[in-house]
């Protein structure tokens, strides 16, 4: 069950990093820290043997990232 614990640790690290990590005022950095949590979720799926959900999550992650990045770029930038 190492994968479960690694997943939980990653989930927690990602969460704490996204909230209190260095320079999270920068939105790109915050987005990347959240990716850590997402990876933790993948590991948890894996350790509960839910491979189909894992597959879907992996595949969905790309459009989700795209949407978020697109919104960031549209709104952030020139002050």
């Amino acid at each position: 069950m190492i994968s479960l614990y690694v997943g939980l640790i990653l989930l927690l690290i990602g969460c704490i990093g996204a909230l209190f990590g260095p320079k999270v005022d920068n939105i790109m950095i915050r987005l990347l820290n959240i990716e850590v949590s997402a990876v933790g979720v993948m590991l948890i799926f894996l350790s509960f043997d839910e491979t189909l959900a894992l597959m879907t999550y992996i595949a969905i992650n790309a459009p989700l990232t795209y949407v978020l990045v697109r919104t960031i770029i549209k709104l952030e930038g020139k002050k």
Partner: protein, 75 residues
């Protein structure tokens, strides 16, 4: 297995602690490598293949987004 654990944990901490986005992306790839190791350890090869194909896509999207972001910050 141990390698995967190390990759994951180190990658995770690395992503958090680095402040340069490019470095963070590299660390993220390291972490994803760790996951692929985990998946292969349980013999779900199809998932591993899919992960290997799909994870670069989001990385590239973030990378290009960051480049655009830098451009915007400068100009």
């Amino acid at each position: 297995m141990l390698v995967s654990v190390l990759c994951c944990i180190l990658g995770g901490i690395g992503v958090i602690l680095h402040t340069n986005v490019i470095n963070k992306l590299i660390m993220l790839s390291l972490m994803e490598t760790g996951i692929i190791g985990f998946i292969a350890y349980y013999y779900y090869l199809d998932v591993a293949i899919l992960m290997a194909i799909c994870s670069p896509i989001s990385n590239i999207i973030i990378l290009l987004g960051y480049i655009k972001y830098l451009e915007l910050k400068k100009g």
